[in-house]
Symmetry: C2
Amino acid sequence: MNPAKNKLLIAALGGVNEIGKNMYMIQYGEDIVVIDCGSKFPDESLPGIDLIVPDISYLLENQEHVKALIVTHGHEDHIGGIPYFLKQLNIPVYGARLTIELIKMKLKEHGLLRDAQLHIIDVNSTVSTGAIQATFFTTIHSIPDCLGVCFQTPEGNVVHTGDFKFDMSPVKGPFPDLHRMAEIGMKGVKILLSESTNAERPGFTPTERNVGEQILEAFVKAEKQVFISTFASNVNRVQQIIDAAMETGRKLVLLGRSMVNVVTISKELGYLDFPDDLLISPDETERYPSEKIAVLCTGSQGEPMAALSRLASSKHPYIEILPGDTVIIAAGAIPGNERNLGQVINNLCVLGARVIYKSGSAAGMHVSGHGSQEELKLMLTLMKPEYLIPVHGEARMLYQHKQLAESVGIPPENVLIINNGDTVQVESGGVSIGSKIPAGNSLVDGLMIGDIGNIVLRDRRHLSSDGMLIIVTTLSKSEGHMVASPEVISRGFVFVKDSEELMGQIQDIVNSTMTELSESQTTQWSLIKQTLKDHVGKFIYQQTKRRPMILPIIIEI
Amino acid sequence: MNPAKNKLLIAALGGVNEIGKNMYMIQYGEDIVVIDCGSKFPDESLPGIDLIVPDISYLLENQEHVKALIVTHGHEDHIGGIPYFLKQLNIPVYGARLTIELIKMKLKEHGLLRDAQLHIIDVNSTVSTGAIQATFFTTIHSIPDCLGVCFQTPEGNVVHTGDFKFDMSPVKGPFPDLHRMAEIGMKGVKILLSESTNAERPGFTPTERNVGEQILEAFVKAEKQVFISTFASNVNRVQQIIDAAMETGRKLVLLGRSMVNVVTISKELGYLDFPDDLLISPDETERYPSEKIAVLCTGSQGEPMAALSRLASSKHPYIEILPGDTVIIAAGAIPGNERNLGQVINNLCVLGARVIYKSGSAAGMHVSGHGSQEELKLMLTLMKPEYLIPVHGEARMLYQHKQLAESVGIPPENVLIINNGDTVQVESGGVSIGSKIPAGNSLVDGLMIGDIGNIVLRDRRHLSSDGMLIIVTTLSKSEGHMVASPEVISRGFVFVKDSEELMGQIQDIVNSTMTELSESQTTQWSLIKQTLKDHVGKFIYQQTKRRPMILPIIIEI
């Protein structure tokens, strides 16, 4: 199966109609280049699943043609799936310095680092793979070292923006490279894949510098210990927090594994700048007065196992949040995390802390890393693409992005809203929707990857909502009658000690059903099982309005 | 147990440190009056639970003293627990007209209407129960007929605000009764219980009229069908929608049971005003051109079974959303519903509808029913309470409310932040925290109410995350050896057909474990079960990093 002979093929293997697990591919003839390989977390409809990564079966089918994985930046929704990908297809990986360092950390955990083919590129690199040549341009986002990619192909240029905002006054260089973007636009862009995260937000996303000013102000005002939580990967924000600590004469404690790791790597690479004696370890805090201590920690999303959550529950061995301390949440809640974060803030309030937090875009302590509507329009205006494929967003964001494109003069029929697995093909200049390729969710559950199976997930949902009832009956192999009286066992249904009467009634129904069946001399196991399920299920529903899973087991002796 | 002899006792049985299931009580000597009896929905930590209502065991213990239930308004978090309460303790219920009508609907569903003692009151009523006299004042909220309550007791006045905002230009009367509130404040308020929902929001909540203007504008601009979804109980917003339909010459279809019910009742009671020929049934829509049709429906929270969700999935038999139609979500997403609502909006975009929606407070199509910081301060200023108990909110809202109280001159030590079950006692003018009374979550699961049991819930969580493995072994009663080979059955763990090798290995481990045990001539069932669990569990964890529930069952023949 190789649908791309003499034509250009573009597809999303993840990232459209969802936030998370970004993965795109571009193919010309026999050359396939992959962009990003992210992961996302499951919602409650997938009980017990640890992680969702893209389905890569199309790439596995065409593995001899897959030449490179280009990674735009080091966020989980762009790199989280890489270990699972490389385990199956060990191709060369290209990314900027910090991106590659973060991928290394991940591969190390999976024991895959030794065999990986990692290549550090910068904005002036070219990655050539047969018919496709990739060049790069600098974008600004909430992590350093972000790249947009321009693919030169025989059918014209295809640009993938990566994640971006136009922060014209970034905390630390580089600046967004408008000139190179303009140059690319001048040369002509056949198809632009542009991110859509904030397509619903009017205006222009504020600069990251604003956050630094707010943080400094809070540090100056704080009378006792300061605790501040943010995303470890937002290295520029971390620098601003470090600056505020230094300016107010505080020592800094780092809490949380990813915070320690990212700060260490970023300092080594020169992305962070601070004297070595700034940092102290948690057990050294007792040597300093409270107004000389700042704690930078993970857990800004209220993750139950992260540092902030443990501090809020007074579970840290050395560090305690006391009345009068200041706690700053320098992050917005990612949709789905509101409840956990709210609970952490509740706990912090009960401890007597002054908590500085705010959900939503009005927050002075957080700005988005994604460009708002005016910035998406700026990108479209610079790139002047013939066609736009809005990516990196749920349907409503893609449709808003389409409206923005219309407002800057792109004809609506040239905006292609696609699903994961749809292909866009370009042949002799003509652009059309091609045949579908496999794409979807690959579920990671413990060590197992792939299709965990609808039946398994349906069973888990069923078990979690009403529990189960197991009925074990024994039948004599020779004579077909019961050898011992049936046993009824319940888990997650009712607490047996509190429901002896109900359980007794269920036992009676099982017994009478088995007697009936035995009189009718039924030996068909499926009939016995179905009759037990029907009789017991009907009774339980009448009595309790619940529908536990009923599992008859027949043991033949 | 009657801790209130010659003293005044105030407690929350629900509603503090949470949003939902409001229930407060006030007791003097042998007289207990209950305020509200709400319900809330469980989060994912309570799998299979349908509803949470307050634990009323204190009231049941003192049932001869419980004189009245006063209901401030007809929202679920104030009336949803009433059927479960009255089933156990059938006391007189007092509420304003619409409140009582909504309670009636609820009691009818539970078959409790005939025996209920329901009393319609208005703002000029007095409810006297021995030592406690209740009078009322008008407040404005997102449902008509809201009352605040002033309890006169031998220890002074206790005021409960109910839910409120100060909408000085309400869509339809009455106006917020500032004069009566001022009068109550003049006479002296010992303790104020005031709601805290929007204590985190600066400023003043906009008037409901603003929403009407936005809705009318959207109706005027719409070129084809208009669909609009809001809370059925927001009768004034429904009136504004009706007005917009009439002004633009559209017929109105009502979709969703609660919308039909509430509109019908509200029209009967005179809260809604429209000509009978405005409404048409869904199957009549084909007789009208699309620009003459408006559909008012439930489902503004993205509830999967509600009308809007079904329309968005093209599942309605008569009505279809077509490209160019306008869909208005005239509601904000209640925390926890963001994902469901987002999905509905995604589906509507895919259908080609113009969707007007906005999350958060900036929404022109929604204003909160709860007062913001300046309104909470206005209430405090009017009431001039000696003590404040912030209620109706999570901890962070209660603490914010405390700061607001300080800013209007209430000493911090006079703001009592309590938990559900804490009592505040007033004796000879002195106010203190008294002993605790039982309070907590009563879980409704099908027909069963009460303590569903931590073990049952823990089992459900365990089952939902990794599924289960059942091992059935048969032992001879006389000789203690195995009669048949053990059976291994899995549900929610792995799909057996895809995992034959793993299941085979597990079967081998079970067999060898049973052989070992049989050689050691063990007859202790608990030891047999534990050994099976240990051996199999360890193997499965090594192979899969999962921990399914392992359930050994021994059948004695």
